[in-house]
Symmetry: C2
Subunit: 188 residues, 2 copies
DNA sequence: ACCTGAACACCGTTCAAGT
DNA sequence: ACCTGAACACCGTTCAAGT
C-alpha cells in the first residue's frame, strides 16, 4: 500500500501560524515547524517554495481571520467594524501582523479593501476620492494596530490605549465627513 | 608599544547602519559587520552586548538623524517640519525605520516627542490633552512613514504617495484644531 | 509523489588563549 | 583591555537517494 501523505501546504502554514502566535516570529524556523509536524525540515520544501513563501502564507492566513461586515449594515458601522476587526486581529496575531507592513497594499487584504470602498461609496464619498480616502484611513488604522502589535504602547495602560484608538477613530471619521462633501446626507 | 584600538561601539554601529541602508536588515550579521571593520565577529562583543543591542543602537542612530526644529519657529510649522523630517528619515533608512515599531514609544524619540509637546502647548492644546494628542498624531505620521519604508506603497507612483501624505497631514491638522478648543487663537 | 539522509555555507554566541 | 582561534548549537537550502 502507498505511504499516507503526512503534510500539505495548509498544515505547514497552520503549524507555523501557531508557533508565531505563541512564541513569536523568531521561533518560526523550518526545523521547528518540521518538528511540530513530525517530519524532517526538507519535507516542507515540497509544500512551500522557501521560508519567505511560508511567511507570505502566514499573512494570508491572518487576513482570512479578519471578518468582513455584511453590506446591509449601515456604512458607518461597517467602517467601525472593520477597524475593530483589524485591531483585534493585530492583538491576536501580533507577530504575523507586523509582516503586513512589508507587503504591497495592493496584494494584502483585497477583500477588506473592497469592503471599505463599498462603505465609502455608500457614505457619499465622491468616486474620484474613494481610493485615496481608503489609503489614508487604512494607513491610520493599520499604523495604530501595528504600533500596538509591535509593542510601541507596551508601557501604557490598556484603558489609555483603548481611548487613544477611539481618538484616532474620531479623527478618521471627521476626515471622512469632510470627504463626503457639504451636500452629503447626515449620519445614517 | 600597546596595540592600537581597532574598533569602538560607534564604529560598530556606523558600519551596521551603512549595511542596513545599502543592503537591508537581513545583511546585517555579526560576521558581515566584523568583515567590514576588518576584525573577527567575536571582537564585536566587547562593544555591543549582543545582536539585539546592536539593532537597538541602530534605532538610536536613526533618531539622531531626525532634526528637531528651533522653538522660535511658529508652532504649526514646527509640527510640519517634524512630520517631514520623520518621513525623510524613513525614506533614507527604511530598514532601520521599521525597527522603531518594535520599540516602546517612551524610549524611542524622546527629543522628538518633547519638541511635539512644545509645539502643541504653543498651539493652545490644553495641558490635559497634550500627551494623548502627541500619541495620536505620532502614530499617524509614523504609520505612514513605516508603510512607505516597509514597502506597502511600493506599487504606487511617487506623486500619489506624496499627496496621500499631504492628505494625512491635513487630517492631523484638522484634528489638532479641534483639540485647541473653540476659544483658541487662529493659526499663527 | 512524497519524504529522508547527508551535506553545505552560513548564523549568533561562548570560552580560553594570546598580546 | 582588546582581539583571536576554536568550538557549539543552530539556521536555510540543495541534491541524490529511498519508498
Amino acid at each position: 500500500m502507498a505511504r499516507p501523505v503526512l503534510i500539505d501546504r495548509e498544515s505547514v502554514l497552520v503549524a507555523a501560524y501557531r508557533i508565531a502566535d505563541e512564541e513569536g516570529l523568531a521561533a518560526v524556523t523550518m526545523q521547528r515547524v518540521a518538528t511540530d509536524l513530525m517530519v524532517t525540515p526538507m519535507a516542507l520544501y515540497r509544500h512551500v517554495a522557501n521560508k519567505a513563501d511560508l511567511l507570505n502564507g502566514l499573512v494570508e492566513l491572518l487576513l482570512d481571520d479578519v471578518p468582513v461586515p455584511v453590506p446591509t449594515m449601515p456604512w458607518r458601522e461597517r467602517l467601525r467594524w472593520i477597524a475593530e476587526s483589524i485591531r483585534l486581529a493585530a492583538q491576536a496575531h501580533p507577530a504575523v501582523f507586523v509582516l503586513l507592513f512589508q507587503q504591497p497594499a495592493t496584494i494584502a487584504a483585497l477583500d477588506v479593501r473592497r469592503a471599505i470602498y463599498g462603505a465609502l461609496r455608500d457614505g457619499g464619498v465622491p468616486e474620484s476620492e474613494v481610493a485615496r480616502t481608503e489609503r489614508v484611513i487604512s494607513t491610520v488604522i493599520l499604523g495604530f494596530a501595528a504600533s500596538e502589535a509591535g509593542g510601541r504602547f507596551r508601557n501604557r495602560p490598556k484603558r489609555e490605549v483603548d481611548s487613544d484608538f477611539a481618538a484616532a477613530q474620531a479623527m478618521v471619521e471627521h476626515y471622512l465627513d469632510q470627504m463626503r462633501g457639504e451636500g452629503a446626507t447626515p449620519t445614517p
